[in-house]
Symmetry: C3
Amino acid sequence: METCSPDQLAQFFGANATNATAAASYICGRFTAVSASLSDTSYAVDSTYLLFSAYLVFSMQLGFAMLCAGSVRAKNTMNIMLTNVLDAATGGLFYYLFGFAFAFGSPSNGFIGRHFFGLKSVPSPLFDYSYFLYQWAFAIAAAGITSGSIAERTQFVAYLIYSSFLTGFVYPVVSHWFWSSDGWASAANTDNLLFGSGVIDFAGSGVVHMVGGIAGLYGALIEGPRIGRFDHGGRAVALRGHSASLVVLGTFLLWFGWYGFNPGSFVKILAPYTTGSYYGQWSAVGRTAVTTTLAGCTAALTTLFGKRILSGHWNVTDVCNGLLGGFAAITAGCSVVEPWAAVICGFVAAWVLIGCNKLAEKVKYDDPLEAAQLHGGCGAWGIIFTALFATKKYVEEVYPGKPGRPHGLFMGGGGRLLAAHLIQILVIIGWVSATMGPLFYGLHKLKLLRISAEDEMAGMDLTRHGGFAYVYHDEDDPHKHGVQMRRIEPSGSS
Amino acid sequence: METCSPDQLAQFFGANATNATAAASYICGRFTAVSASLSDTSYAVDSTYLLFSAYLVFSMQLGFAMLCAGSVRAKNTMNIMLTNVLDAATGGLFYYLFGFAFAFGSPSNGFIGRHFFGLKSVPSPLFDYSYFLYQWAFAIAAAGITSGSIAERTQFVAYLIYSSFLTGFVYPVVSHWFWSSDGWASAANTDNLLFGSGVIDFAGSGVVHMVGGIAGLYGALIEGPRIGRFDHGGRAVALRGHSASLVVLGTFLLWFGWYGFNPGSFVKILAPYTTGSYYGQWSAVGRTAVTTTLAGCTAALTTLFGKRILSGHWNVTDVCNGLLGGFAAITAGCSVVEPWAAVICGFVAAWVLIGCNKLAEKVKYDDPLEAAQLHGGCGAWGIIFTALFATKKYVEEVYPGKPGRPHGLFMGGGGRLLAAHLIQILVIIGWVSATMGPLFYGLHKLKLLRISAEDEMAGMDLTRHGGFAYVYHDEDDPHKHGVQMRRIEPSGSS
Amino acid sequence: METCSPDQLAQFFGANATNATAAASYICGRFSAVSASLSDASYAVDSTYLLFSAYLVFSMQLGFAMLCAGSVRAKNTMNIMLTNVLDAAAGGLFYYLFGFAFAFGSPSNGFIGRHFFGLKSVPSPLFDYSYFLYQWAFAIAAAGITSGSIAERTQFVAYLIYSSFLTGFVYPVVSHWFWSSDGWASAANTDNLLFGSGVIDFAGSGVVHMVGGIAGLYGALIEGPRIGRFDHGGRAVALRGHSASLVVLGTFLLWFGWYGFNPGSFVKILAPYNTGSYYGQWSAVGRTAVTTTLAGCTAALTTLFGKRILSGHWNVTDVCNGLLGGFAAITAGCSVVEPWAAVICGFVAAWVLIGCNKLAEKVKYDDPLEAAQLHGGCGAWGIIFTALFATKKYVEEVYPGKPGRPHGLFMGGGGRLLAAHLIQILVIIGWVSATMGPLFYGLHKLKLLRISAEDEMAGMDLTRHGGFAYVYHDEDDEPHKHGVQMRKIEPSGSS
């Protein structure tokens, strides 16, 4: 808001006014006070928006925990849930100590940040605590993805090591490249844009989902499939998760949290595009929530009918995975595409996931949660999708300060955005391969990666985590309940 | 906010000021800038409020899924959860394509809307994306209610058909009548109010809950009770749900989501009643949350003691249903009644539900989730309750622009509101009967509605959805766990 | 915001302006309109913030329900979940009728409030409905804590009585002491601060967690351990909960809700520390969320490795309890300590919890959810921690209007805050002992407290609550049927 200048106003009043200067400075004093409270208000509004978005993103960790728990066999439930709790816990410490610094420690070079270790000199005019919290919730999501791929057969120590490494170093560096204003491929790095465009990975189809998925891919590849996943004939045998209820619970919680993940990535909601108009960033935020919803819904329906034709079942766990695939795909472009494009995004994502799963089975790749296929495959599709369907208007609104920047190929925006996004896919694959690959391989060589066959058969809960996760009947006569229940039934909840 | 007029101000300064016009326009320029940023702020605040309310309402879908899953037998869990996931997914697409247009496509006639198909020309000064998202979350809630009534015995295809029809046409039309500014019975249709009053169904006891409940009623009536629900002697046999934990989880999630459902229906929170005062719409929003809470709490306690006397048990699932009945009842009047009235509302709602259940048993009506009784019965009571207890002050604050409009009968507001509300109940019953009744009957005739007796005995999960929802023990020796557990117990979590 | 005075402005314009008064009043009229809308905006923003925080705190009740359900044996699941639902329901009515009045009914004496019964004359300039909702969510949390300690062996009637009493009277009085501006030990009672400092229990390590924990302690002590918890040799036998998934679900939901519990306790987010700057209460709110997170994370990791060494297992339920212990501890000081201090807080909290559990086992105290150890023990540590690490800057920002007030001992703030906090611990223990102790003892004497041994063996769900919570297999088909069919259809399953 333009500031009020006493001198200028005094001139207007001129000499005739008894005390023009005083009048002018008096009036302008009021105006300064007003704009100060307006700035206070906008800080409060944006912080409220960002904090509650961060809480939603955090709830995705609960979603991952339930999804993973339901998708593994009962004998490994404690193990997988512990890993999910620790993703959040270790993530919190490591991201606080240096993860955030590596990711957003500008001013810095294009490769890695170097300020704000341990939140030193935060809050600053650039970053407030709420921003750290929001980014932390993103970081642990990436680790949560990976833990799914290597579930049911990985030593707990190995898990602790890769998780800290991923959250504390691998992921932060990637997010620095694409999200920090200094990042070499960031769309915010306006004075030096990659291909004059930069990468538009708005909420992290690549930065979060591909990173997590590919990390999982290496882990799962190196330790190999679970015992019994492929029979002697090499035919795939489904090792069904132990609770579809937990899978659905987890999926819905992830859906819920995604409303913090995608629309929340605007960070600010009080940002007019043309001040005083009904249309501003608040509308873009709402549009992002809508595109997210539509992509997921379409992917779910496509999977439903697709799998019905292929497998003959109406399968709820597949529908849940399809839904999540749609979300993972729309994440990159959610803010810069039209709602109708989101429908296309979801439709293709569903088939990408189905294809990846077929491929995984063919190459005998075992991923208990389909995490690599889902987050890796659909994430990659999402990056390409954005480069094809990003609209000019939205790109310039969401990434301002550089009119006429490239947008989606199919929208007549030329191929430079697509080029940048292909580069993104390549460098993410390269970087994760160069860091997580050797890590998992080293752990493998050191016999720290995979558990023993006996442990795997017995289940890690019994051998490592102090017991089975469920005790539905006391040790004494298991039939007792059944009997008593039948007796009291008529007076039950009717 | 009154705008600043340079001419007028210039006159005040008069000729003596060196440049009165310049001074005046300068000052007014500042003021215009200020009111512009104030309008930006209010858009941002209201959008934040509406979006997060929409997220809460969405979380009710998770609540429905868990509530339904826990209330059916284990062998049908996958089926019911799939329907809940698809309520959200199909609902998303259909409501995007035409549902929202039918409901809010004004300017239009009083019966059905006709703009904004596929969100065309949204955002407009009237509707932003966030409003669509919020209304979508409402639409899928209605479908979620119905799926409970026809659980455990309905063909999946039949479910897909009615769900799309309900979310895409039946529900939107009803919401147009009572919520769109063009609706023939809407309280916002100020120049042509039904009985000079219009229907005050603030958050949808009728529009959402009765519609969903009555649709379920027809479905359940036409396909008849589950096998074994009534024995040869005609005595009711409780077919207990398989997991009370899921029921409680779902209930609490619905409670959580209801804070988006009822207070969120204000759509705007930054709306002063007298500007500059501490009392404004933000207080009304808080009051709505309080009335909602009190109604539910009272209903829960009433049910607790009521069922204790009737059945001799302290039954948690009944308490949960009673709680939800209280919420369904207060939904219509939550914003226009005093907190003490909410207590009355909840108390009666609990008895209404108990009565409806007794009646349902007498007429051998089987509703696995008591959805028709709960949402239909308590919803209808809520509509009447509003017509009795709506206070003058609150009605005029929440529905402004028409002072002296009728309010609650017991509050001295005359009977016209009651008359309008009785009309509402009748037309909703009529409309749903005229649309969903024939649909279900047609499906029934086409043998598409009910599954075969064999499928029903075996459970739909095994026959249609690829397997049982739970696998707590591997195929090999089931006693293993028990034994090993006992062995390691002493070192367990103590 | 300073108001605009027409007279003053008119003088400035002076006689020459054709109509100085009109001009001045015109301009000032615009300004008052502006500040009016600014005040509207701030009410709306703060209400939005407070309401959604209240919703988050409410979700902790769901967290408690799932945590309790998972931590008890399957045969008592319905019972414990019912108690959790009723904590919220009964709490809602009693807190509406008089709980809120006792807690915040100022003007009043320092001991108990006396206005706003049944929300009479709310909203007032001081309190809006959203504030009541937020405080209600806190009140039911306290009751939720207690129900964990006495789980699996308490009569339902006894539960109903103590729950109403705790939510309606015991807890509100304590919250009045430390949170109401009239409270004798409140940090907001600026003209009469205890030791010139008052107690800084920002979000209630003492007011909520210690109260709930100690109430549970008395209940559990008086009715004694569950049958089989300690064998004939007196060795402790773990009575494992029936579902670790529910435990983890509950823990994460509590974590989620704690973001409403701690940062939400600011009540207002639109409060500049110096207007126009990027640093204001919104930053403090964010910092509070960060300290909360770090304390919990550190406690979880400490517990993980600590228990690994002690018990040889990587135990998820213990990690969950450690995590919650860290949260309970940071709750008091979350808004006035640096993030690095939160790490210390969490680290110590984990060991406090482990120690309390060892002690509980030694004295044969049985608490199915470790509620007394966790909320009582870690809560007490949190109170002391705050008195040691509260920083001057943050204390003066969060509790304004009294510069130079005492802060953390280790931060050079002197011992007066610590003294006040030790007083707090003592009075809370005293008050809860004086109220809940006799109540539980009376119920015990009246044979209303503990269920019969038969009921306890059979499980309360079957004897009192209409049946077992889970039915995974129908009565008709033998349990192997599923397994068989499953194996048959597996290849086409979700692959």
